[in-house]
């Protein structure tokens, strides 16, 4: 039995409690928030154990095996350090830390004290992502991906979280080094990091404020990002897109391999195999659509079967449960961490680069999208020039 405690009793904590309840070998022993009202409400609504307002008190009183840190990111490093130094394992919600330097320090500390730490990149563990990883492991792509496209977008309109950020000039999200981007994009960037061979890839980022946000009078918030990432060895390149202006709001990953490719549509939990068959003449217009129809039907059947087995849940909740279970296995059996530390650090470095470059973008340029020059793009991707022409 793993004894779990939670620090930070906001919305994420609710999701952790819901998934921890589904894990038979886990028990919540305490919840903690500096705001007693928040700690008490989570406890009152069914989180077992006791409630606290100081993490140290909670750890001393409940002796948890693992502490889930679900506070705003500004406190992740400090709390992660405290938790690890107290002899507990740490599950730290995304974004893992504010900077890559903090991430490196936290991972080093975990290694030094013989404890495990994981960031809450649960989007890596949705049903579709797990299926995609299985296919990649079978060699479906025919080698390492040549190119990865990760789209991780967001709808600002209807979400209460977004209204809170937009309506409050002092909201904690705005005080992050990467502001709104930092609180969201780690999910999308971590999907790329998994497939990059290089620990110090080239990153070219461009950020700007969307026309819709500008029209609402918002000036300081960057809500659009286009990023090119490339291995220095030229093995794998990637595009990352964050946007609040696309409908439907896409959360997709495309892996282009040397032989075949894969498309993951996380919004609908669909995985599509892009085969490399050549069909003669007009057959190419008739046979592949049939194949795609068949694949969509299989995806439907898989999702329905999971739902019928009570194993679907909302994809991010399912991903959260899967990540927690895998992390707990690491704790109890010494299995490899569900997210390798190398990927954790690489994600943090790429994010640092993105925020630094966007911060350097002059305000005028930030308000109107401008693509890097063709020469820049060629240098970055090391692709043949013909690939970049449109």
């Amino acid at each position: 039995m793993i004894k779990a405690a939670i620090v930070g009793c906001g919305k994420m904590a609710d999701q952790h409690v819901a998934q921890l309840r589904r894990i038979p070998d886990a028990a919540i022993v305490g919840v903690c928030d500096v705001e007693p009202i928040m700690a008490k409400q989570l406890h009152e609504r069914g989180a077992a154990g006791a409630w606290f307002t100081a993490v140290g008190d909670m750890i001393r009183a409940t002796r948890p095996d693992v502490v889930h840190v679900t506070t705003p990111p500004q406190s992740h490093f400090e709390l992660g350090t405290l938790v690890l130094n107290s002899g507990c394992h740490a599950y730290i919600e995304k974004p893992f830390t504010l900077t890559a330097a903090e991430a490196e320090e936290l991972v080093a500390l975990a290694t030094r004290v013989g404890r495990h730490v994981t960031p809450g990149h649960n989007a890596l563990f949705t049903h579709a992502m797990v299926e995609m990883r299985r296919l990649v492991a079978t060699g479906f792509l025919g080698g390492p991906p040549t190119h990865v496209e990760s789209m991780y977008c967001y709808e600002l309109g209807a979400d209460p979280y977004a209204s809170a950020v937009l309506g409050d000039g002092a909201h904690w999200v705005r005080r992050l080094p990467g502001s709104l981007l930092q609180n969201i994009i780690s999910h999308g960037v971590s999907r790329i990091a998994e497939y990059l061979a290089d620990d110090r890839p080239i990153v070219k980022a461009h950020g700007f404020t969307s026309p819709a946000l500008r029209a609402s009078g918002e000036r300081g918030l960057i809500d659009e990002a286009r990023v090119i990432i490339a291995d220095r060895a030229g093995t794998t390149t990637a595009y990352f897109t964050f946007s609040t202006s696309m409908k439907p709001v896409p959360h997709q990953l495309r892996l282009y391999g040397p032989k075949r490719s894969l498309l993951v549509d996380d919004d609908h939990q669909i995985v599509i195999r892009l085969e490399n068959h050549e069909y003669k003449s007009y057959y190419r217009y008739f046979i592949p659509p049939l194949g795609f129809a068949g694949q969509h039907l299989k995806n439907l059947a898989r999702n329905v079967a999971r739902f019928a087995r009570n194993d679907f849940h909302m994809p991010f909740d399912a991903g959260l449960k899967r990540l927690i279970e895998a992390f707990y296995r690491t704790i109890s059996t010494g299995a490899p961490p569900p997210i390798p530390y190398r990927d954790v650090l690489l994600t943090a470095r790429i994010m640092d680069d993105i925020f630094a470059q966007i911060a350097e973008t002059p305000q005028d340029a930030a308000s109107a999208p401008a693509l890097p020059s063709c020469t820049e793009m060629r240098a970055v991707s090391r692709m043949p020039a013909r690939c970049l022409r449109t």
């Binding site: 609710d14 589904r22 009202i37 928040m38 002092a170 739902f307």
Partner: protein, 360 residues
């Protein structure tokens, strides 16, 4: 007459004079801006309006326009910030607390209804000059478990102690907010009044209230057609809230606010279809919805929340038990009467909804 042509209330004793500062939180909200109008119309000239928005929202701006000589301070900020609360509470005589957390999650509602209220109360108690804190709550906090079918729901009814079981974050937040206010009343001597409006209708609320039924999969499931709807027209509601801050001798009281001549759910829906737009609706009988709620509740538990328990037997009873509602206490102690009749209120609401439909 004052400079805006409005006569200050001098007929009866009031807790605050026209020159004292009144604080309104949630002042740009649907009800909040009408409370601002209600107070300005009564001749109160010094208002401090709190809003989350950096710019004065159009609705509040429109509410202020007829009173160019009023001294209205609009303070933008977040009640989660104690320094902002201190600034807001400084030197005020009466506080109208309408700001609330509208969120789909429990923590969101708690944070934005309860923590904010506690911060504001801390600032008020420390400032020391407040003579009345009007806490605007909701009908949603009541439990109807012990009220018989068709029985009267009034201020003497039990507040729901198991409100989390209803899976209604808003009601949970409001119930805890009331608890905090009462705690400050008992422990820190806060003079307070709680106002619990029913369902507030009026131009700006274009959708059919959730108490009428559920709009899903392209068809409207009409629930509890025979039940009376606890409506209050927004201007009437604002009047009651305004009075709750001004009438002396009512500290610690709770007031339910509903208008007279409440329509039944089926009457409302019929009028809506006639006056706003045609919609397909299916009347769902109690036994069918109760069975559905029961099964949904069981499945939710069995599937470990694969479907959240949004439909449950507690909610079902709220739709169907056909209560009557009393506004006698508000009429007696506040001297309130709904100045807009239900017929007129519904007409105005439908007209605005029809316009909204055309605009969209």
């Amino acid at each position: 007459m004052n400079s805006d042509g409005n006569r200050p209330e001098q007929d009866t004793a009031r807790l605050a004079s026209a020159d004292e500062t009144l604080l309104i939180t949630g002042a740009s909200g649907f009800v909040g801006r009408r409370v601002v109008t209600a107070l300005l119309s009564r001749g109160y000239r010094r208002l401090r309006c709190l809003t989350r928005h950096n710019r004065t929202p159009a609705g509040l701006q429109a509410a202020l326009e007829p009173f160019p000589n009023a001294n209205v301070e609009v303070l933008a900020g977040n009640l989660l910030d104690p320094a902002y609360c201190r600034r807001a509470a400084r030197g005020v005589a009466v506080v109208y607390h309408l700001a609330a957390g509208i969120d789909k999650t429990f923590p969101g509602c708690i944070l934005n209804s309860v923590v904010t209220t506690r911060n504001l109360l801390d600032a008020i108690v420390n400032d020391g000059g407040v003579r009345r804190f009007v806490n605007v709550s909701s009908f949603a906090v009541y439990s109807n478990e012990r009220i018989r079918w068709g029985g009267v729901l009034d201020e003497s009814c039990m507040v729901d102690t198991k409100v989390a079981d209803r899976h209604d974050p808003y009601a949970y937040g409001k119930a805890r907010q009331d608890d905090v206010v009462e705690e400050y009343g008992r422990g820190r001597g806060l003079p307070f009044v709680i106002v619990r409006p029913g369902i507030v209708i009026g131009p700006g609320k274009a959708r059919i209230p959730g108490r009428v039924g559920i709009d899903t999969f392209g068809v409207f499931l009409h629930l509890g057609g025979g039940s009376r709807m606890p409506f209050t027209y927004v201007d009437n509601c604002a009047d009651a809230i305004a009075l709750a801050g001004l009438i002396p001798g009512i500290d610690g009281e709770v007031f339910n606010i509903v208008d007279d001549d409440l329509p039944r759910s089926r009457e409302y829906l019929r009028e809506y279809k006639r006056r706003v737009r045609r919609i397909a609706s299916i009347p769902v009988p109690y036994s069918a919805f109760m069975a559905f709620s029961y099964l949904w509740e069981k499945y939710s538990k069995y599937s470990e929340g694969q479907l959240p328990p949004v439909f449950n037997r507690r909610i079902c009873e709220i739709y169907f038990k056909g209560h009557r509602y009393s506004n006698a206490k508000a009429k007696t102690l506040l001297g309130w009467t709904p100045r807009v009749t239900m017929r007129e209120g519904l007409e105005r609401t439908f007209a605005a909804s029809r316009q909204t439909g055309r605009d969209s």
